[in-house]
């Protein structure tokens, strides 16, 4: 036990002095989620700001005085679009789509012919793209109004066109929160855990071997089990540290979110944090054991890195499994590591409380992974230098 603690302390000291390990752990835990939410909130704000800009850029508005009148009545301002609107839209100088009114607009309208107006925007200009929806809605309202007036003139009630009204009613639990943008969050957290502890795991096995310090280490009277448990302990502490930092990075992120809609969706409290910790700490510890096992018989840092990255690649895939099973979740989901955690995190984010059974099942799976990995590491640890 004393040797195990000595190994753990040394490995932890070594990891904390390694810039590569430390930087990866800090970056993956502290930056991932805040950055993602910040990007989302900015995009959402852009969409919303386009909605309430209430200006219309147009070319040839003089050909459609009735449309102009309608737009002004809705409280919009009309601006003459610049001559070179195409170039300006491309260079993102113009951040709104441009309404193109044909010169025969008024004539055709009075004759009751079909009319076409065009909305011009550059597809690479996201801002202008966001502006399309409000502008379209405005024009559709105008089309509706003219149609209603035409029908009324002919003595037909407009009601006839809409005999059936459709209304949406949400079947939601009372305490359930709306989550759409935050659905990506669990995957980000899982990636942070896997990437965060990876370099510590590699450094303690393949890194040590590459530096030539593993062979002298084997000259000490310590068993494979002591080496395995000491090294795993250190990497698991780094991994669990990443989990804790990641979860606590949510709190300052909430203050950073400027967008009210997202703020309302993403409410992360202390209770949620405890739920996340309960789900993620065992997973981080078992991933640490797995990563050490994967890196163990690699001869170089690079080889171990490649192998571990292949393992890492599975994480996003596993999070995608639910797409294949739409509707009810099959019961075996809770026995699949990563997937189980993914589902439970989603539950927490939705404001539901966790059930004991799935949490226990996930814990059991994590313990099994750790035990198998550690058994393999302790058996193999002293043999890897023997080649």
């Amino acid at each position: 036990m004393r040797a195990t603690i000595s190994i753990l302390r040394k490995e932890l000291k070594d990891a904390l002095r390694d810039r590569r390990t430390l930087m990866t752990a800090l970056f993956s835990s502290l930056l991932g989620v805040p950055l993602m939410l910040l990007v989302f909130s900015t995009v959402l704000s852009q969409v919303e700001s386009q909605e309430d800009k209430r200006t219309v850029y147009a070319v040839g508005m003089q050909f459609a005085p009735e449309l102009e009148n309608f737009i002004l009545r809705q409280g919009y301002q009309i601006r003459q679009a610049p001559e070179d609107y195409a170039a300006k839209s491309r260079s993102k100088e113009l951040d709104q789509p441009v309404l193109l009114v044909p010169s025969d607009f008024q004539k055709k309208l009075h004759r009751g012919e079909k009319l076409t107006v065009e909305l011009a925007y550059d597809t690479s200009n996201r801002q202008a793209e966001f502006g399309m929806r409000p502008l379209k809605r405005l024009l559709e309202a105008y089309a509706q109004e003219t149609m209603m007036m035409d029908l009324t003139m002919r003595g037909i009630s407009g009601e006839l066109l809409q005999r059936i009204d459709i209304k949406e009613r949400y079947l939601q639990k009372a305490d359930e929160r709306k989550t759409s943008l935050t659905e990506m969050l669990p995957m980000m957290v899982l990636m942070a855990i896997v990437v965060g502890g990876m370099y510590a795991a590699i450094d303690t096995t393949a890194g040590e071997r590459e530096r030539g310090s593993l062979e002298p280490l084997m000259m000490n009277p310590v068993s494979g089990w002591q080496l395995a448990s000491g090294k795993w302990g250190a990497v698991a502490i780094v991994g669990m540290g990443v989990v804790i930092l990641t979860i606590f990075s949510f709190f300052p992120t909430q203050w950073l979110i400027r967008n009210e809609t997202l703020k309302a969706e993403f409410q992360f409290g202390w209770k949620d944090a405890v739920g996340f910790l309960m789900v993620l700490l065992p997973l981080a510890a078992s991933i640490a054991a797995l990563q050490i096992a994967v890196a163990l018989d690699c001869k170089s840092y690079k080889e171990a890195q490649v192998r571990n990255q292949i393992v890492t690649m599975f994480i996003p895939f596993v999070s995608l499994i639910p797409i294949v099973f739409p509707g009810r979740e099959p019961a075996w989901f809770q026995w699949v590591p990563v997937l189980a955690q993914n589902q439970m995190m989603n539950q927490v984010l939705k404001g539901e409380s966790l059930h004991v059974l799935p949490v226990a099942a996930a814990l059991l799976v994590c313990v099994a992974i750790t035990a198998v990995s550690l058994a393999y590491i302790s058996r193999k640890m002293r043999q890897v230098v023997m080649h």
Partner: protein, 276 residues
């Protein structure tokens, strides 16, 4: 006391890589069996290293010195043969004999992010020593090896000599009875080499603990000035052994280098011719 009897070790080497045909690519991907060749690294080495003596393992590059030492250290499984350390048989992968052994490996293998003191302490603790004793022993070794200024510097920027001193102190922290040094003077300057030689002589003396010391080297002067007993290794087997004087007499030469070349290479060739 270390006794080595008729040690053998073969290594499997992969055939030279090429991408000439479909088969070669399949081999590289592990789909087909790779072409292998075996190399006899150690092919019958026997010697006895007594307590209170320095035994030199002398041989050219690739003669099998390091492989022999790794097997003595229990890091490598011998194909056949016996190794006894103070009467206990060495088994690879176990650590029954390791508490009585201090090994300075070729690669030194210090932890660059730890200070010299932390490097030494770590091994002391792994040997089950009390922290207070480790500290005391570190101070003592640092005084003997004249490395006090190094103790609290990180091993990252150490020179060859500084690395050797730290690794040696680390290997000796638990005061082992048997000391194995693989090419200890590699990369050391004259002053450092002389200091190391003095230190090893002291370890051999009764005041220093009358240690059993095995040194592998390919440098003639080292052997001449330091070793009580010399084992000349060539092509994986020991071709001659004895004190420097005995070997000179055996080869009928005055110069030790000439004696070595004669014993290591000429005799080996004649022996092979005789066998053929």
């Amino acid at each position: 006391m270390i006794t080595v009897k008729d040690l053998h070790k073969e290594f499997v080497r992969q055939g030279k890589p090429s991408v000439g045909s479909f088969k070669d690519i399949a081999r590289a991907l592990g789909l087909m069996k790779k072409t292998v060749e075996t190399v006899k690294a150690v092919n019958g080495v026997s010697f006895h290293a007594a307590d209170g003596a320095i035994t030199g393992l002398l041989g050219a590059n690739g003669a099998g010195k390091t492989t022999t030492l790794r097997m003595i250290a229990g890091l490598l499984q011998a194909d056949s043969g016996d190794i006894h350390v103070d009467g206990t048989q060495v088994r690879a992968g176990t650590y029954a004999t390791q508490s009585q052994m201090g090994v300075l490996s070729d690669a030194r293998g210090l932890y660059p992010r730890l200070t010299a003191r932390e490097n030494i302490h770590y091994y002391g603790l792994l040997h089950g020593m009390e922290p207070g004793l480790v500290e005391q022993r570190t101070t003592q070794l640092a005084a003997w090896l004249e490395m006090q200024p190094l103790l609290d510097r990180r091993a990252d920027g150490f020179s060859q000599g500084e690395r050797m001193k730290t690794a040696l102190a680390r290997a000796l922290v638990h005061d082992p009875k048997n000391i194995i040094l693989d090419e200890p003077t590699n990369g050391l300057d004259v002053v450092a080499t002389r200091a190391l030689r003095e230190f090893l002589r002291w370890l051999r003396s009764p005041e220093g603990g009358a240690k059993c010391i095995i040194v592998s080297t390919h440098i003639m002067q080292e052997v001449e000035r330091l070793c009580d007993e010399v084992v000349i290794v060539a092509n994986g087997k020991n071709v001659a052994r004895g004190s420097v004087e005995e070997l000179l007499a055996q080869a009928q030469e005055n110069n030790f280098e000439d004696a070595f070349v004669k014993l290591a290479f000429l005799q080996a060739t004649t022996a092979m011719k005789g066998a053929a």
